[in-house]
Amino acid sequence: MIVKDLRITEFRGIKSCKSPIELSNFNVLIGRNNCGKSTILEALSLLPSPLISEYITGRDKIEFIKNLHYREESLNINRRSYKTLIYQYAGTALIEYNRIGEKVFNISMKENQIIPNFGVNEIINSIISKLKGTKPPKQLEYIDKFLEMIKKPSSLSVLFIPYDTQYIKEMEKKIDSLKEIIIKKGIHVQVAKSLNKCVDDEYSEILFGDPIRIRKIFSDNFTYVRISDLGSGAEKLIKIMLLIESITPELILIDDIEAGLHPTMINIFLKWLINRGSQVVISTHSIDVLYKLTEINPSDCNVLFLKKSREDNLKYDKLSLDEIEVLLNANTDPRKFNF
């Protein structure tokens, strides 16, 4: 697990959190529209630093998030201003992350300034206190640990898939650049065969080039189909799987995971995500996702019911999959409760 909890203050539509949002290894965010699901995913996506490049667009992560909501070309917004990401467009947004038991990272955001704080001071203080009264080689051990800790923030890989069909389209170039890794690992065949489990067609492998294609098998022949010409659900599944398999992010964030996916495809996708071993946070409105998760029953999985007060303060309640299953078995829809 990468992130233990986070606290959001004055970021996007969230004014404050009643308590830190505690995360498990596999997390499902549910709640009414505009309750803060995407905001939590976006806040997490800024790890390890808002100023490093996002995988697909190559923009700084903070610019990428800003552009998801306000296309520069369509609005008269100062390109260098972050105020559109700040609650009610003024003041300071703050996101605090607690990783592996220690608060080592926070981001504060003003109209024209982003200040990522990697928590180096906290780490130095903690190491100094441990060094006192110790002798080599124990001291060397602590110094090594220190170096490892300050290195960690920049080495953490976080992938955020927003609910944006354009983003899925734009993945193609990145995936093509990763073709050697994909082919070496045999991912191009595995992903094509995974797709066979949830569509009526049969595919055998993915071929790279411009455009990326997939080999479609007929009873006595085969042909090549551009991935971008497949249905949007199939295209999304293939591209996300190829990307995640090749870059192996430690933290995977997917907004509206069910968008465009048939329940069988949701099932395949969830099983595959769970077996990745990464920390995962997804948002959904779909009861199919909840049903499938109770069937798959991954360990260390929780469903977070988000609720925002009229004053934009976020609170949440956490239910285990066992509890979700009990509610579903009682013919009640967990999404409808105001926990």
């Binding site: 009990v326 509610l327 579903l328 009682a330 013919n331 829809d333 967990p334 409808k336 409760f337």
Partner: protein, 219 residues
């Protein structure tokens, strides 16, 4: 005057009761909704957070109380078909509650074809209204009675042991007499008296709820 309203979304409403159903949703939801409408319901909210799925959980649906009761919900209406009740329903439901750590605080108050139990789970206290449909096997028996009373048409009750296949046969008999859409129309047109005679347990419990038992009154 009865002022109950059945909703499937509690947003912005002051919630009174949550329905738990051991038998899926049709036709219970339709009947409840129409009876509440008949009672001209506006104020007291009955929340039916139903799924589109049909799980026949029987008394296992009561497991949900354990999850909900600590989360601001304190009045429940449990509807279950008689086929899931193998003994005295009061004993069976009490025992089920006991198995999930819920104690019955006060004596069960018998209603006509239903009953109310005052319960506690830890420090949380709540009311549970129980409706046994049928009362022998299923709510379709009550629907058959309604058709007879409202349309003066006798539904042929299948012979043989009253089990799941008997229930299926009864459902087919009902469908051969009246479509779902027509049944809904007839329910809407029926008088309160016919509804109370056809669905006595549901009406008895709704009437009792009207006497304004509120969680705040539990000490």
């Amino acid at each position: 005057m009865i002022t109950l309203k059945l909703v499937d979304d509690e947003k912005g409403l002051e919630l009174r009761h949550v329905i738990l159903n051991g038998d899926g949703i049709y036709p219970e939801k339709m009947i409840l909704e129409i009876i509440c409408e008949k009672y001209n319901g506006k104020e007291k909210i009955i929340f039916y957070p139903r799924t589109g799925m049909k799980n026949q959980a029987g008394v296992s649906a009561l497991d949900a109380i354990k999850i909900l009761v600590g989360r601001r919900y304190s009045n429940f209406i449990f509807i279950v078909d008689g086929e899931y009740i193998n003994e005295d329903p009061r004993n069976q439901i009490k025992r089920k509650l006991g198995s999930i750590g819920i104690g019955c605080r006060e004596e069960i108050i018998p209603l006509e074809d239903g009953f109310l139990i005052r319960c506690s789970s830890g420090s949380n206290k709540f009311y549970l209204y129980c409706i046994i449909s049928g009362p022998e096997v299923c709510i379709e028996e009550e629907v058959a009675r309604f058709i007879e009373l409202k349309l003066n048409v006798r539904v042929n009750i299948p012979e043989g042991p009253k089990n799941a296949s008997w229930r299926r046969s009864l459902r087919q008999e009902i469908r051969s007499n009246i479509s779902r859409r027509e049944l809904k129309r007839q329910l809407k047109e029926a008088t309160i008296r016919i509804l109370e005679n056809s669905f006595p347990s549901i009406c008895a419990v709704l009437n009792y709820i009207e006497e304004d038992f509120q969680s705040s009154n539990i000490n």
